[in-house]
């Protein structure tokens, strides 16, 4: 679940200095709030389950938050996946989101770098993600971080 950023041409903001750390139970309500604002859908149970499975700095699973001035401004979640689809272990980011009023200050970049550092420490040298192709703004964010098309093609069919 990669959150869509709003379109438009907002002014460039000063870099936000945030501390990126492991998510804790006390962060949950703010994470839910950010996700609700961004997606328009409150999913409290889902986030409680995600915290249970990815929180507290578990091995190969990472749920990080960016904290600035005692407020959670964003979060990123990912994990190391081993030998899926014949691929050597790699880091997958499956959620990244920043409060709309805290965007364009480099928080997404800081969080992505932090989770990449986690993956590197676990011996992984490749980062992957997947998102809708009609989401150009978040695609642009990942592109701006140097990500290129992976040698995989996602497929689907109606059931």
């Amino acid at each position: 679940m990669i959150s869509r950023k709003k379109s438009g041409n907002p002014p460039v903001r000063k870099a936000v200095q945030a501390r990126v750390r492991d998510a804790r139970e006390g962060d949950l309500e703010q994470v839910i709030e950010i996700d609700t604002v961004v997606t328009g859908l409150r999913k409290a149970e889902y986030w409680a389950d995600i915290l249970l499975r990815y929180g507290d700095g578990r091995r190969q699973r990472h749920f990080l938050v960016a904290e600035a001035a005692d407020r959670i401004e964003g979060f990123v979640i990912g994990e190391v996946r081993d030998w899926e689809f014949g691929s050597a272990p790699c880091g997958w980011v499956f959620a990244i989101s920043v409060r709309p009023d805290a965007r364009l200050g480099g928080l997404g970049t800081q969080m992505l770098q932090a989770i990449c550092d986690c993956f590197r420490r676990e011996g992984v040298s490749k980062l992957r993600t997947i998102l809708s192709r009609d989401n150009p703004l978040v695609l642009s964010f990942f592109r701006s971080q140097g990500m290129m098309a992976a040698p995989f093609i996602p497929l689907e069919k109606d059931l």
Binding site: N9, R133, P136, L139, S140, R143, S144, A149
Partner: protein, 150 residues
């Protein structure tokens, strides 16, 4: 995937200007660098100028400079000024006829044209999504990385 000459020239020009946003370039200078006629380049720059992506300063010492927002302007924004990367609204014989093979006068049964239309539409959509996701700023970073890799 092949882009038309004017489109490629427009992308090179925008990247050239955006790499040095404070600098003013003469059309002759850019034309020399990319080995195209100044007349040809001028037409491309006029289109970019009308779209507000380059600014022109007339008279002696005049030239062109980047006038866009490199962090917002995507490759698609430039490309669609010069050509359409066709994405038919739906698959089917009408859609398939818009593609080069069909335009060459090859007649095929409905279901073949329909199936080919589906595949070509899929490819077009991926191409468009790719062009929409890459900003001029990201392209400049890619250029730097490729330069460092050589």
């Amino acid at each position: 995937m092949k882009l038309q000459k004017n489109t490629v020239l427009a992308l090179y020009s925008v990247l050239e200007f955006a790499a040095n946003p404070g600098r003013q370039y003469s059309a002759a200078e850019v034309a020399r660098k990319y080995r195209v006629s100044p007349h040809h380049l001028a037409k491309v720059l006029r289109t970019l100028g009308r779209a507000g992506l380059v600014g022109a300063v007339r008279g002696v010492g005049g030239g062109y400079r980047f006038a866009g927002n490199a962090r917002r302007l995507t490759l698609m924004d430039v490309i669609e000024l010069f050509e359409e990367i066709s994405v038919p609204r739906r698959a089917g014989p009408r859609a398939a006829r818009r593609h080069p093979g069909a335009e060459q006068g090859v007649a095929a049964p409905f279901e073949l044209e329909d199936a080919l239309g589906v595949v070509l539409k899929e490819i077009d959509e991926i191409a468009k999504a790719t062009f929409r996701s890459i900003t001029i700023d990201t392209m400049l970073k890619l250029v730097e990385r490729r330069r460092g890799a050589r």
